[in-house]
Each structure stands twice: as C-alpha cells, then as structure tokens.
C-alpha cells in the first residue's frame, strides 16, 4: 500500500477480506450439506428433530453456526477505529500506526 494512505484503510481492507471469506465458507457449508446429504435417495434420509438431516445441517445449524462465526469475527478480529480524525494530524500521521 502506498505511503500516506490512511492507516484505517488497511484495517478496513483486512476486514472486507474476512467478510468475503466468511461468505464463501457460508456458501460451502450451505451447499455441501444441502446437496451432499439431500442428494441421496429419499429412502436413505435420516431425520433430526423431525427435519431431514440435510435441511437440519444446511439451514438450521448453518444459521446458528454462522451467526456465532460473525460474532467471533467481529468480537476478536475486527478493530475499533475512530471515524472522525483531526484532518491535519491524520495527514501528517500518514502511514504510521
């Protein structure tokens, strides 16, 4: 990254990548359980709490797991940065962090 770039942008870039990675994992989880388990013949379906296993894992567990993962991501990996900086000090600070 170019010198003189706002240091907060590096934090933001990293977080945008994390969000994208989480979305990709979310998709894989959703797809793999749905079509991995759900693609079998219906006779072989197993049931959890009344739901077919594919649906239970893909949609219900997936919902819970990814809500928790968002919480973990935000809580432990996202940084709190100030949004309003003094304009002059910001320009002088530049890349220092």
């Amino acid at each position: 990254m170019k010198k003189g770039t706002d240091w907060r942008y590096r934090v933001s870039n990293r977080e945008a990548i994390m969000g994208t990675v989480l979305a990709i994992l979310n998709f894989i989880w959703w797809y793999a359980f749905a079509y991995g388990l759900g693609g079998r013949p219906i006779k072989e379906y197993t049931y959890i709490l009344g739901f077919p296993a594919w649906f239970f894992y893909s949609c219900i567990v997936g919902f819970v797991v990814f809500t928790i993962l968002v919480w973990i991501m935000v809580k432990f990996f996202f940084k709190e940065v100030p949004f309003e900086l003094d304009e002059t000090s910001e320009n002088e600070e530049g890349d220092v962090r």
Partner: protein, 479 residues
C-alpha cells in the same frame, strides 16, 4: 373480516405514524440540515442500523410471496431463501469502515456523492441518478401497490381506500422526519416482523401436530417436498445457488442498502449491527418460509400462493394474534418504501439540483425543497399506484437485478481498487443495466441460473476494461 384482526393492524399503523412524526422534532436546521434529513446526522447505533438494513431489504416477498412459493415447492425453497443469511453481515463487512470513513471525509450524504467524489465525472453522476430515480421509482410503485393490496385483503376496504390509508401513514412521517423517522420506524417494523415470524411459526407447528408429524405427512403427499429439489424437481443446484448473487452478496449494489453503510455512528455500531442483522435476517427467512412449507399440511389445497400466509394466519391463530402476524408484511412493505422514497428524493435534490442546477442554493430554500420534493415524489407514486401504467410494471422487472449489476462494481471496486476510473464506472453502469434488461427480456435464466449472474460478470469485465483506458484517477489519498 373481523375486528379482532383489524384492531392490531390499526394500532400498528397508528403507532408507526406517531413515532415517525415524533422523531421529526429532532430535525436540525442550519448547515447540517441535509445530512440530518437524509442521513440522520450519521448517528445510528447498532440495533437501529441492523434493523433498518434488514427491514429495508425484507419486503412483501419475504412474508407473502416467499412463503407462498415454499408452500408449493417445499423445503427446497427454504434452502433458497436461506441464501439471504449472508446479507446480514456481507454488506457491512465489505463496504466496511472504509466507506463510512470516506463518506465522512468527503462529506457524502448520498451514494452518488461518493461516486461523484471518487470518479469526478459528470456522466457517472447523471447515469447513476437516472437509474436510481427510474428503477427505484417503479420498484417503489410496485411495493406501494402491494401495500394497498395487503390492506385491502386484510380489512375488506376498497383498493383505493386501502392505498390512501397506506400512503397517508407512510408519506407524512417520511416527509416530516426524513431519514431519522425512516430508520426509527424501520426498527419498530423490524421488531414486528420478528414477532410475527415467531407467532406464525409456533402456531403452524402446533396446528400441524409437531414437526415430525408434518414431515411425515409431507413425505406421504409428495416425497420431493422434503428434498432440496422442490416438489416438481425444478430447483436445480445451480439455479438455487445463483440466488446467492441476487439476494445474497449482490445486495451490496442496492443503493437503498449501501447508503445505510454511511449512516452509523462508530465502529462499535457497525460491529453490533452485523451480529444482530445476521441473526434477524436468518431468523425471519428461516421462520417465515418454514411456516409456508408447514402450512401445506395444516391447510392443503391453496391455489394462489400469495393467499397462503393470510389464510394460514387466520386458520391457526386467534384473530388478534393473526392481526399481529399480518402486520409483519405490512411492516416489511412500509419499511421498504419509506427508505426508497427518501433515496429517490435525495437523488433529485442533492445529486441533481444541488450538484448541477444550483450549487449555492440557500439553506432555508434547500430545506423547503427537501420537504417539497419528497412530498411530490410520494404523491406521484401514490397517483401511479391507483392505476399503475404498464411502463412502470415493465420497469419494475429490472429494478432489483438491474441496480445490483449497475452499482456493485463502481461501489466496491471504487473503494478497493485504485486504478478504477470514470470510464470503467460508466461502462459498468451501462453494461450492467443494459445486459440485465436484454437478458431478462430475451434469454431469461440463461444456463439455468438467475438472470442476474451474467450481467454482474459482464459489468465487472466492463469496469476493468474501462479502467485500463486513460481516465481520471483519484489524485488524493482520500480513497
């Protein structure tokens, strides 16, 4: 229709109305008026931010159309609906703090303010403002019609009267209170949506004799109902997956959603909003669509999908509880139209009038103009909704996907790719909207995927190719 049902609906409408009016007392005059009216002074906390994003995004289709489709197709449609879980965190994570910080540095009030500062091009501004006004106006009219129809079907009053009640309650608080009224009422509407989901889901499970019983009856009726492929096996994996773009990650490109990403108070608010938003959007989508599937066992043989939810609520719940459940779709429609109304009016006032017609307009006049234009836009939508012209219905077909394809790259790559320039943005806007309209008309769902997929890829290519031509790049380190 009985008064038990109408009473909670009426209470809901009246409370939203008065809360909306009440918040308008906070509107400041003076130099910060525009920021206050269109962005609530960038003061949103986490809960309100989460709720306004979910409520603006969730529309009648989450409560009426979607559950109706789930009723017909089974668990496969619930799977498809769950592609929306990602909207709860993705938009905020990707636009991120950078969007909020840049917006503050350049003092942006609208999405177009951002595009204008980033690309320094008149054409980017004109094309964006044009697509926002045209597409969102028609999308709004369609939602307005939906709101009128909902009230009509729940209460039995005539469509015109219903439309009048609906418009009256929305218009007054949006005009008077601006963005703050919109987001505060969105928060109430979001809560109503969640409560409605809990009630209808619980009621349907009880009426159906428990989940196990419901599943075995569904299986006995048509085993495909409990597969991911839909009752008629029409839901192929790549069709369902393509909804991850239309109603999942592509939502970043919707101006009414992305403008919210510049309205929050601080990093903490954004963090909280991501957690709350993910939970709420997942809960509503899972709950409402499951209720639709379960409803098939409780109330078989409904032919018109849109009637599933209202009939189900009346069947499994006492009247007053059904009233609360039926307030949820109304809340969803209201929270969508109020946001879009304000966005269209901001595009006209801030992006066109102040940018190009009269940059030195007086503060007092701008204030009057803001109320005035919002009222004019609202009233013309109302007028259109009484007897919607064909052109409007036609344009609405392209609103959602067209806007996503147009804006996703100019926003996202504008933030993260320094090389991106005005030529790229213009190419992306034109190719996005153009290819979406063309494909939707002539080759819908090409290769078995939703139409939106290809235009988003094409507009990405257009953005990149355009950006390699000579053009203005940001010459400050603001971006």
């Amino acid at each position: 229709m009985n008064w038990d049902v109408i009473l909670p609906l009426a209470i809901f409408l009246i409370s939203v109305f008065f809360v909306g009016i009440y918040t308008s007392r906070h509107i400041k005059s003076g130099p910060s008026f525009l920021q206050d009216y269109f962005l609530a002074g960038r003061e949103l906390g986490g809960f309100v931010l989460a709720m306004t994003m979910v409520a603006t995004y969730g529309s009648a289709s989450s409560f009426i159309g979607g559950p109706g489709a789930a009723y017909q197709l089974g668990l496969g449609w619930v799977l498809l609906a769950m592609a929306q879980l990602v909207t709860g965190y993705f938009t905020l994570a990707v636009l991120g703090k950078k969007f909020a910080i840049v917006a503050r540095k350049i003092n942006a009030v609208t999405l177009i303010d951002f595009l204008k500062a980033r690309y320094e091009s008149k054409w980017v501004v004109i094309l964006s403002a044009l697509s926002i006004v045209v597409f969102l106006f028609s999308a709004m009219a369609a939602q307005w019609v939906g709101g009128g129809r909902l009230i009509e079907s729940f209460t039995g009053v005539s469509y015109t009267t219903a439309l009048f009640i609906f418009s009256g309650s929305v218009l007054v608080y949006v005009i008077a209170g601006g963005f703050r009224a919109v987001v505060i009422t969105d928060a109430i509407q979001g809560v109503v949506m969640v409560i409605g989901t809990v009630i209808i889901l619980a009621g349907t499970i009880i009426a159906g004799g428990g989940i196990e019983n419901i599943m075995s009856e569904l299986r006995a009726e048509n085993p495909n109902l409990i597969t991911p492929y839909g009752s008629d096996q029409s839901l192929t994996p790549h069709y369902v997956s393509s909804f991850w773009i239309l109603v999942g990650v592509g939502v970043v490109g919707l101006p009414q959603i992305s403008v919210r990403a510049m309205s929050y108070r601080n990093a903490k608010a954004m963090h909280r909003a991501m957690i709350i938003g993910t939970f709420v959007v997942g809960f509503i989508m899972l709950g409402m669509h499951l209720a639709g599937v379960f409803g098939r066992v409780v109330l078989p043989g409904i032919e018109v999908p849109d009637k599933v939810m209202p009939l189900l609520a009346l069947e499994v719940l006492p009247g007053w509880l059904a009233g609360i459940v039926l307030a949820a779709p109304l809340a969803a429609v209201m929270s969508t139209v109020d946001s879009v109304l304000l966005l269209v009016s901001s595009a006209i006032i801030k992006d066109v009038y102040i940018n190009y017609i009269k940059p030195d307009a007086e503060e007092k006049f701008v204030k009057k103009l803001s109320f005035g234009i919002t009222a004019v836009v609202g009233l013309s939508v109302f007028a259109m909704a009484i007897n919607p012209p064909d052109l409007l219905i036609w344009l609405n077909l392209f609103a959602f996907g067209g806007l996503e394809a147009a804006f996703i790259w100019p926003i996202v790559l504008g933030l993260y790719w320094k090389r991106g320039n005005a030529n790229g943005a213009i190419a992306s806007l034109i190719v996005g909207v153009g290819s979406y309209m063309f494909l939707h008309l002539y080759y819908p769902n090409l290769w078995g995927m939703h139409t939106v997929v290809l235009p988003i890829i094409l507009s990405l290519i257009a953005y990149i190719v355009g950006s390699f031509t000579k053009g203005v790049r940001p010459h400050t380190n603001t971006f």
